[in-house]
Subunit: 276 residues, 2 copies
């Protein structure tokens, strides 16, 4: 069986995926991206470290191992095109990537996927390989949303659906019977911090048991390479903002190792719930 | 002719309205709300200062002058119901206002309007009395939006329309071909500051001539007492965020004295445009 290649950025998801595949007995090859992935966080593996400019070296390594399937996972500080120093064997691919860098983030990701596909690889999503890394349907930990909060969650998902055609809005926060924050370019963490500040300044009151972060993919988002995610920091900030919990689209939002996040949710007194 | 009563909160709009009515020869009575309105900013008038708890005194003053029409205008720090010390003649109205305080801001405003209507007054909107205080159709100052920005503006208004059923989103900011911020509970100024921060941190690039704040009423918003507004601070923050300009729904957004804001827009190098 040819190894599955994990092209790994930062965060907990890439090592979590590696551990799951290892337990399943699937051979893997980890291409850890320098400055993003932490090589020490992976179980002992066939692993190499790559700078962003070393595409030629990466392709050669993948081919020499007979890799067909690969997964791109983890966070990556968005590189500036000028900041990448390509090695000689990468130069011929540059025009392709120069085009990908012209558009927004989605455009860039689509370009990267297209590139690997054109090179004969199959790009898989983490959810296809390891569904256990995504939010299951129902509560993740001990707590679950109240009936009142459930109505708020429904409204939140409908809002995300309504703004999805504008290519915006992976997340929103609802509390006090209304929408209090909508995420755009600032990201989920900043959106949670904003709500914590409004509460801190007394401009917003969130009663105990009220308040929810809803998160879902945008319509047309390529879940293979751009799946929304929540993690320990999301939980910490949700707790700081005084929310009762987090609701995500089941199977469509990465949560990493479920048991770990469930324990953390319990510790914060938050519900984390996957909604079908 | 019975005087028109201006129940005046803070900001430039109440005195601007008073000056316009004065020039038109309409007699007025100003009820300046203590801690919000600046009595000195009004032209010499029949003016009294009221604390929020002095509703009985206000009704008496209005009736003794034969007031029928009144307008509620200006900003008001949202009072906590407990913080209002009612005088004896106000106590009988309290149950009415306790109900109004239960809901959101919209609910509160509707309650206040209903109260004055039940007392036999006619609540008018600033735009009915002085259309010159709202954004006209077309550019306010010397600059106008480019064709490219105009497409972005269209997208922005469509977004505001799409989220309006969720009772949110008076404003959004679009730049770099996408939606970069959507206003919810934080208000327009904070939304502009957020974009300025994203730009400052290098997380967002706004090219010269790109970037626009769009602002419009929500569907069902009572424009008599809750009209969206832009002012000098909005312009300053839009300029700080590096935007090219501001687009508002013509006739539905307060701008105050047009000439003053036009001059300020020119000074900041911003377009301010009313869109039909």
């Amino acid at each position: 069986m040819s190894p599955l290649a994990i092209i790994a950025g930062g965060g907990d998801f890439p090592p979590a995926l590696a551990r799951i595949l290892r337990q399943a007995g699937r051979p893997i090859y980890v291409a850890a991206l320098d400055g993003a992935a932490d090589p020490a966080s992976f179980p002992p593996e066939d692993l190499d470290i790559y700078r962003l400019g070393q595409l030629g070296r990466l392709l050669k390594a993948l081919r020499s191992r007979g890799v067909v399937d690969l997964v791109l996972i983890g966070s990556l500080p968005r590189p500036s095109f000028g900041g990448i120093v390509p090695e000689a064997s990468t130069l011929k691919y540059l025009p392709h990537f120069a085009r990908a860098f012209q558009g927004g983030d989605d455009h860039l990701l689509r370009g990267v996927v297209r590139f690997f596909e054109e090179q004969g690889f199959q790009v898989l999503g983490p959810a296809e390989i390891a569904p256990g890394l995504t939010a299951p349907e129902g509560p993740l930990g001990r707590l679950s949303a109240s009936a009142e909060t459930r109505a708020l969650i429904g409204r939140g998902f409908a809002l995300l659906e309504a703004i999805s055609p504008f290519d915006v809005g992976q997340a929103a926060i609802l509390a006090d019977h209304r929408v209090v924050a909508i995420e755009a370019a600032e990201g989920t963490d900043a959106t949670l911090r904003r709500v914590a500040e409004l509460v801190g300044k007394g401009r917003l009151k969130i009663a105990r048991g009220d308040g929810v972060l809803v998160k879902a993919p945008k319509r047309g988002q390529d879940l293979r390479v751009d799946m929304p995610a929540i993690g320990p920091e999301t939980l910490r900030l949700a707790s700081e903002a005084g929310l009762a919990g987090i609701a995500v689209r089941a199977g469509q939002v990465l949560v990493g190792e479920r048991a770990g996040l469930a324990a953390l949710a319990d510790r914060h007194g938050l519900f984390v719930e996957g909604i079908a």
